[in-house]
Amino acid sequence: MLKQRPYLIEFLTAAGLVLAPFVLPWLGFAPNTVNRILVWGLFGLGFDILFGFTGLLSFGQSAFYGTGGFVAAYLLTRAGFPYVALALVIGMIAAAATGYLIGLIALRRTGIYFAMITVAIAEVFFFVEFNPLSDFTGGENGLPGVPTPSFNLGFTTLHFTTGWSLYQFLALCYFIGVVIALRIVRSPVGAVFSAIRDNPLRATAVGHNIHGYKLTAFVIAAAYAGFAGGLLGVLQAFMPPDAFTFDTSGQLVMQTAIGGRGTLFGPLVGAAVWLSLQDFLQAALGLGAAWKLVLGVVFVLLVCFLRRGIIGGLADLYGLLTGQRGVREPDESEPEVVAVASTPHAAIAAAAPTPVRPRPAGSPSGPILQAKGLTKRYGGLLANSDIDFTVNHGELRGIIGPNGAGKSTFFKMLTCEVHPTSGTILFEGRDITGMNVTDVCQLGLTKSYQVNQLFAGLTVRENLVIAALSGLRGKFRLDLFRSIDSIPGLSERVQQTLELVNLTSRPDTPVSELAYGEKRRLEIGLALATSPSLLLLDEPLAGMSPRERVETVKLLKSISQGRTMIIIDHDMDALFELAERVTVLQEGRVLVEGTPEEIKNNSTVQEAYLGGVHGVLAA
């Protein structure tokens, strides 16, 4: 929704802000109310990046709002600092720095822990403002006398005082805030943010340092909060201590949820609803203190029934009214039918001309991966015991074994998702034992999961972009203002991967609308898009119909051109057809290793499968 025409949203925002002073008075908005809405909206821009885009719900934003506000107000009142705009920026920097330090602590945990910790931290700030620091903050009196901004342009002095005059300054600040927020959301960092929201585990596995990105989102939110806090002081000519209260954080959360999370403008809409309802209920209906109850009920109902808030609801309504859904649906199911029907051809067509991933000159030979004495113990259970395993460059290795043979544990150790109890893993000659998944993925070793781990809220293309970004940008990079389209090689790699996994017909379909087989192919695509030099596939054929299996085997064949791969699967016919060599695991040990022919005729393998513990017939 945020990516239509370039600068369309920026233009509409500017137009809206320019028109507001002419339109809003007719709707009964007092200028002061509009100004407060803008300050909340700006505060919310950062919060929405944190909550709506990155999925981190903080109940402690008041800490940064207050910090920025009081630093700016202190400079402008007690310290006699004359430059309002500069003081606001200093307040913002102070808030961002505070956010960095707090983020280091709060982001040690996620989910509800994160929410609880942010609440506690904000409460600490509130008490510190009131007590130990009351000499600087005025304690419960706050800091009165915050001046309004004026700019000496040489030939004239611009002075923003109150009402619509101050509105111009606030609107400019909000506009700049929106422009920056849009850049961030459309940058590669923004893409990783939404990956973290949808599936942090996979975001880590495709090679992003999500802790760094979470901290980035947290600092961005703190910076916005700090700047908005400074504006609050300017707006009221007084920095109120209640900026630090839990109610401030709570109101921000509620306004964002009411307006619509993940939309950037949600907090602004939410604030408009909140403040105008407050005025309306208090003044027009004479409800007095009950206004907050009404808002509370409205909020609960919205969370229950309109998860995406007002903006999300309007977007859905618009979709319904314009019949977009109705038109789109057959549109989408049709290519699916076509795609299924034409899959074999498409796969072959895609396989033949696609240039094989360039191999380093003088293609290396010899081992790419060597595991020695790999053992994993879970308490008394020995999942893997003393496994020696070597795969050469360019090889396609299959791993089979009965259920419980320790295949998945073995893969998890190779990708460093779990660490071996003992033994070493060498990848391209480097000891990777004890490294983490992200670093290993950056080195060029990744896997596709047995159970799909996709970014469920995003489209096929966005999924692949996230995976491809890690290869092109490294595990952490702060290119906050760079357009995602300007990254060299990105669209080529995404296109190439789409072709490889045969999803070219549906790049813009949301993952949730994909058929199972397509999701399975995207799962492989995510691993492929990181351009690994060694690709592990954990049961790529799991849960597929016989027809899908045939197609996927073809797909795997085409992918394997020029790649080194290790595949685990139960489908032995498929593996024997694909793999050059097969390793058989049983009860955590290597039973035997050899060519498919050797394995087929090996008596111990036959024993293991036909007469063994499980008595399962092969194939």
Partner: protein
């Protein structure tokens, strides 16, 4: 330069506060552990317990009836809340659960404010427990001493329910793996409802027990909720023993720091929480399981 009698009496204050926090936190933590929902309306439950008890007290004049009425009312409220709203949120993301319970908490506070205004209400302690008890070296309010005992009994009761009954076994199994419990043919959702009721009741009971110590206002649950979070983070989410240990630690930290400077009580509490997060991210007695 420490004034020893003062210090000891602060230790007792810390014990009383800690015991209360332990009780409220165990309610929060068993709800979270079993249902996977962090109830941000838990502070409001605590507050409503106080008010329900206050109403019962003003009609009957009996403190015991007030305690019973307060606890039962909050239990019923908890069950109703679970039946009507929370159960629709089990399969929605954590954020939505936080948002909806947060909103409900605000509604509860505002309803109480509407009925009872923001003025503080007073519930006197029962006649038997009024006055001051001499402990030999210091005099201490009898009721506060009694609070420690009452809460200890309540925690004991909770322990018996959790560790000595069939329901408790199911609850603890549910904390480990609710899907497995479900597939064993136990109606997990009915258990969820009961657990939510018990957890809410723990908060409501604490609310009315605490009412004679503090004055009762609609906002009384807000600070408690924050302290409860710290307790749970320190003790480990989902751990009943952790809630007790964390409660006592938090109570003592708040009381002892307050003796020197109340303004730093939260700073110290927060410092303790940070220390735990750095050294033992899953809490003192928490396990790695649930996030």
């Amino acid at each position: 330069m420490i004034n020893w009698p003062n210090f000891v009496s602060q230790l007792f204050n810390g014990l009383a506060l800690g015991a209360l926090l332990a009780l409220i936190s165990s309610g929060l933590t068993i709800i979270y552990g079993t249902l996977g929902v962090l109830n941000l309306a838990h502070g409001a439950m605590f507050m409503i317990g106080g008010y329900a008890g206050y109403v019962a007290y003003s009609y009957t004049g009996s403190f015991i009836l007030a305690v019973i009425a307060g606890s039962l009312f909050v239990m019923v409220l908890g069950v109703a809340m679970e039946r009507i709203i929370i159960r629709h949120f089990y399969h929605r993301p954590h954020e939505d659960q936080l948002l909806v319970t947060f909103g409900l908490g605000i509604c509860f506070v505002e309803i109480v404010r509407l009925i009872f205004t923001s003025q503080s209400q007073v519930v006197p302690p029962p006649a038997l427990l009024q006055g001051i008890t001499s402990l030999g070296f210091l005099f201490y309010p009898t009721y506060r001493l009694a609070v420690v005992g009452i809460v200890a009994v309540a925690l004991g009761g909770l322990f018996l329910i959790l560790y000595r009954t069939r329901l408790g076994m199911i609850v603890r199994a549910g904390i480990e793996d609710s899907v497995m419990v479900d597939s064993l043919g136990i109606n997990v959702y009915r258990v969820f409802m009961i657990v939510f009721g018990i957890g809410a009741m723990a908060a409501g009971f604490a609310g009315i027990i605490n009412a004679p110590v503090v004055s009762l206002t609609p906002g009384v649950g807000d600070d408690i909720l924050v302290e409860t979070f710290v307790v749970v983070v320190i003790g480990g989410v989902g751990s009943f023993p952790g809630a007790i240990l964390g409660g006592l630690i938090a109570g003592e930290i708040i009381s002892i720091t307050s003796m020197f400077n109340p303004g730093y009580a939260y700073v110290m509490l927060f410092a303790a929480m940070t220390l735990v997060l750095v050294l033992r991210p899953h809490g003192l007695l928490g396990t790695q399981g649930r996030e």
